[in-house]
């Protein structure tokens, strides 16, 4: 019999066999008979009135079948769509465009080359309008107004915590530090771009939508709600997420292309494919960050922290389309008290419109946690440096202590479990912290620039408990349905959708652990709304905390029924049965047992009188709390005084994500997350010129780390189980992306502090550092 391969096994991945042989089934691999191609005309201007769209030349090209404009969609009232934050997003514009590369028209043709010819032949008359690109300027009186349907560029004000008590605490403390921190706009850039194939069957009135989506079930409901007036009905909408080539949050939102392709299929009665190119993906899809933060801390001269106050201006682009849980306009930014025991805290955020594309949270992070962590870890480091306290000692002094868990934060969260000092001490041991400090002192005496940076982060993931977490009213549970077959094998289906996390492998391990069925005999499926139970999808590190928990609970429901069957087969009382690994045995007589295979067979062939046949269960898991993964990262950098280049010499990451299901996969997630933390710290940024032209709309300008720049990550672990999760797991997919940037920036600033450098905004590029070195007289010049 095969090995069970439950929790803690570095089981090789099931999904690899198809990916390694080129047999994955990604969106652009789907090819249907008679399929048409959609390509999109996009605006060269960041703000312009549309005076006319001339389609004659395009329509004259053989193979071009139609040009779809806002007016076309208006006939069906789908030219606009609601966003998840109760705002409005244009699918195609009627009057004006609001950002560069905004969708203006769709061209439908028989193949992708002809569709591109059609796009080139559409002539649009624009009247350029003034733009506003800086959200701080957008709030000034007389600023260009981005939205004609709104009074101003101010979208909302959100605040959390006790303002008055925090202000009072600030007035009473010995030391106050303050720092403006800009966290620039970045883009997830999964290597697969977004796309869909829409297939409308006019005879059946049935829509099948293959789509690069991380949340297929929610998409089905949204489609049903916004098309109800057209006669579409939810049971006749099937959304299928095929294999997804990386998601990281970028495949949560609904983009206009999906809607145009669907409309085009309904109008033509033919399948329609739309696949973005890289520039469209970078220039128009959901971004992340763009937070202008003023961070302040107050405490005592001995380094004891007391109060935190953050004020933030959030650039949302032209509409608020952040894919947040509905009650959280600034996401979970109020985790910003981090790993420290603050008595008082207050945070406020103002959302602002600018002439940029919408979005806001998509970059491997649980709703603004990265912004929170970078800000607290930066300002804490500044305070430590200002007080002349070693940053490690400063953290150890202020950490929430193990005995304080479950810990109630000043901003209202209940941290489930943690041992922050243990993780930091382990990272310090691994990297040899004390000797690095000595080396740094020696090098500094010789004029060499070396820095050591720490980030001790606390995450908040697994959204979320239904009392506060919903998206458009749909509670943020997730689900697992298990059917055990007569021969003791099983199929399990989930409401989530893997994008590389390895769900087909790890979910089977959870069930294997709980039921004793070998993981190799448990088939895992997700992504098809016709077959999988309803769930909110995979993002914000929620799969393990929600659907992973559902797998354990559904397994336990099966075990409960199995116990009754075993009692029947063994002619024993249920009370006398003991479960071990893959069987129930009679207490005191371990040779009298029935395995899960015996039980499964009996469930279909010899079930007890009065009991339903079959062996299956479904669980919709509503988490009682979020989970709080944490860790401590230490980074060592050397700075080249001749070029300004920052070289990450070592990077040690100690992560605590609770119980690890598959250590190999957890480590892989951390490696990838670290690289997506390194990237914005040193390389990636989407910026714009004063006319709204994007910088970074292709991979030659928007720099993803290659194998050459990426450091050789060193990883370690501590294990503090989540007390409320059925298997004690917390989620790990995003921890490293959240925790890494601060360690790198802190290391760079640590290397330069003695020169009078207090902070550098990311990305810390060689030119930026070079200018600072020159200004401080520390540059080596010819």
């Amino acid at each position: 019999m095969s090995e069970i391969q439950g929790l803690g096994h570095s089981r090789k991945r099931v999904e690899d066999m198809r990916f390694l042989q080129g047999r994955g089934n990604y969106i652009d691999d789907i090819k249907l008979p008679g399929m048409l191609y959609l390509d999109i005309v996009r605006s060269p201007y960041a703000h312009a009135r549309i005076k006319g769209i001339h389609t004659e030349k395009a329509l004259a090209i053989p193979g071009v079948l139609a040009v779809i404009t806002g007016e076309t969609l208006k006939q069906f009232n789908v030219h606009n769509m609601p966003t998840l934050m109760s705002d409005v997003q244009m699918v195609l514009p009627i009057e004006a465009v609001k950002y560069q590369f905004q969708e203006v028209a769709g061209v439908l043709a028989t193949d992708r080359y002809t569709a591109a010819d059609g796009v080139a032949a559409v002539v649009v008359d624009y009247e350029p309008l003034p733009v506003v690109m800086d959200p701080r300027k957008a709030l000034e009186p007389g600023a260009v107004r981005v939205r004609d349907d709104k009074e101003s560029n101010h979208i909302w004000h959100w605040e959390w915590g006790d303002r008055q008590a925090t202000d009072q605490a600030f007035a009473q403390q010995d030391v106050v530090v303050s720092q403006d921190i800009y966290i620039p706009r970045i883009h997830v850039s999964s290597i697969e771009t977004c796309g869909c194939v829409a297939k409308w069957d006019p005879l059946e009135g049935h829509l099948t939508l293959w789509m690069t989506t991380q949340a297929p079930h929610a998409i089905r409901t949204v489609v049903a709600l916004v098309t109800a007036h057209l006669g579409l009905s939810e049971e006749k909408i099937r959304v299928i997420s095929p294999d997804i080539g990386g998601g990281f949050g970028g495949k949560v939102p609904v983009y206009p292309g999906y809607v145009i392709a669907t409309a085009a299929s309904i109008v033509t009665g033919k399948p329609v494919k739309w696949i973005e190119d890289r520039t469209e993906n970078l220039a128009a899809d959901s971004f992340a960050r763009d937070y202008h933060i003023t961070a302040e801390l107050a405490g005592k001269k001995d380094g004891t922290l007391n109060a935190l106050r953050f004020k933030t201006i959030a650039d949302h682009g032209y509409t608020d389309a952040a894919a947040n849980p509905s009650k959280f306009p600034a996401g979970l930014f109020h985790i910003c008290t981090g790993s420290y025991d603050f008595k008082n805290a207050f945070v406020e955020v103002d959302g602002v419109y600018t002439n940029k594309p919408p979005g806001g949270i998509a970059y491997r992070c649980s709703f603004r946690v990265t912004e929170a962590v970078l800000a607290i870890e930066r300002i804490a480091d500044i305070m430590a440096h200002e007080l002349g306290i070693d940053p490690a000692d400063f953290r150890l002094k202020n950490f929430i202590r193990p005995e304080q868990f479950p810990y109630q934060s000043a901003l209202g969260w209940e941290y489930d479990s943690g041992n922050y000092a243990a993780a930091l001490r382990k990272a310090m041991d691994m990297i040899g912290y004390e000797s690095l400090r000595r080396e740094q002192a020696e090098k500094r005496a010789r004029g060499e620039l070396m820095g050591i940076g720490i980030s001790s982060f606390t995450e908040i993931v697994g959204a979320g408990p239904s009392k506060t977490f919903d998206i458009l009213g749909i509670k943020m549970f997730d689900s697992c349905e298990i059917r055990v077959h007569p021969t003791g094998k099983a199929i399990a289906r989930f409401g989530t959708k893997s994008q590389g996390q390895g769900h087909e492998t790890t979910y089977a391990q959870i069930i294997a652990e709980e039921l004793g069925i070998p993981a190799d005999h448990i088939k895992v499926e997700e992504g098809d709304t016709d077959t999988a139970p309803y769930g909110l999808g995979t993002y914000a590190s929620r799969s393990t905390p929600t659907a992973g928990a559902a797998a354990a609970v559904a397994s336990r429901k099966i075990r409960e029924k199995g116990k009754k069957i075993a009692a029947h087969l063994l002619e024993a009382s249920e009370d006398d049965l003991v479960w071990e690994r893959d069987r129930f045995y009679v207490r005191g007589s371990p040779d009298q047992f029935k395995t899960i295979q015996d039980i499964a067979f009996a469930a279909y062939t010899n079930h007890p009188p009065g009991m339903e046949a079959g062996l299956e269960a479904v669980d919709y898991y509503d988490p009682p709390n979020l989970t709080y993964p944490f860790g401590s990262y230490i980074c060592v950098v050397d700075i080249d005084r001749g070029t300004g280049e920052v070289k990450v010499r070592r990077f040690v990451a100690v992560d605590d994500c609770g119980v690890r299901i598959n250590p190999m996969i957890v480590e892989g997630q951390i490696h990838g997350g670290l690289t997506m933390g390194f990237a914005p710290a040193l390389m990636e940024e989407i910026s714009y010129d004063e006319n709204g032209n994007i910088h970074g709309a292709n991979f030659q300008d928007y720099l993803l780390p290659t194998a050459v720049e990426t450091p050789r990550w060193e990883t370690g672990e501590t294990v503090t189980p989540s007390p409320h999760h059925p298997i004690g797991a917390k989620g790990v997919g995003e921890s490293a992306t959240v925790g890494a940037p601060a360690a790198i920036v802190n290391a760079v600033v640590d290397a330069l502090w003695h020169l009078g450098v207090r902070h550098i905004d990311i990305p810390i590029t060689p030119p930026k550092v070079w200018h600072i070195l020159k200004e401080k007289g520390a540059a080596l010049e010819e």
């Binding site: 198809r18 994955g24 990604y26 691999d29 090819k31 080539g245 990386g246 590389g500 892989g668 490696h671």
Partner: protein, 169 residues
């Protein structure tokens, strides 16, 4: 649009087709030959998801026309496994968890294989440079490097030992 008749060998089998002058090699592979293991991730020859072997060299098939492959020997990811058995490079990626979403993987393996064909015993630095034209967003490259090292070891050990030259008495 003028058309051209091309003939080439793809994964060991002869192929003939009429193609438009402007048809990119990657679209020929994916849409004409229906070999969808070769992927497209950018439009600027940056990401390497489309890497295949043409006449034994790794090339980015998004930056060549199909007609330029006329008369050539083309090898794609579908040509790696033999009789259902994974090749050493595929085995390396599986054993060392060198892939996550799998989208960059075919191109990454083709670049790595081209390296190992030229340099059977590369250093870590050489591996990192050799795959620096291939972007991966999931793995952080650590396990990809290990996968290539695994393949290098396997390929070396599967080469038959050289027979000592006969010594004449």
């Amino acid at each position: 649009m003028s058309k051209h008749h091309i003939q080439l060998n793809v994964n060991g089998l002869p192929v003939e087709a009429e193609v438009e002058s402007r048809l990119l090699l990657v679209h020929f592979i994916r849409e004409v030959l229906n070999l969808t293991g070769t992927h497209i991730g950018c439009d600027t020859t940056s990401c390497g998801a489309c890497t295949v072997h043409l006449n034994g060299k790794a090339v980015k098939s998004c930056t060549m026309f199909a007609v330029q492959a006329d008369g050539g020997e083309l090898r794609t990811v579908e040509g790696l496994a033999q009789n259902g058995k994974l090749s050493p490079i595929q085995e390396g990626f599986r054993e060392e968890h060198g892939l996550q979403c799998g989208f960059c993987t075919p191109g990454m393996m083709m670049s790595a294989l081209a390296l190992l064909q030229e340099n059977p015993d590369p250093t870590e630095e050489e591996i990192r440079w050799a795959i620096s034209g291939n972007l991966c967003r999931c793995t952080g490259y650590v396990n990809i490097v290990k996968a290539v090292q695994y393949a290098a070891r396997t390929m070396k050990s599967s080469v038959p030992e050289q027979q000592p030259e006969a010594v004449s008495a």
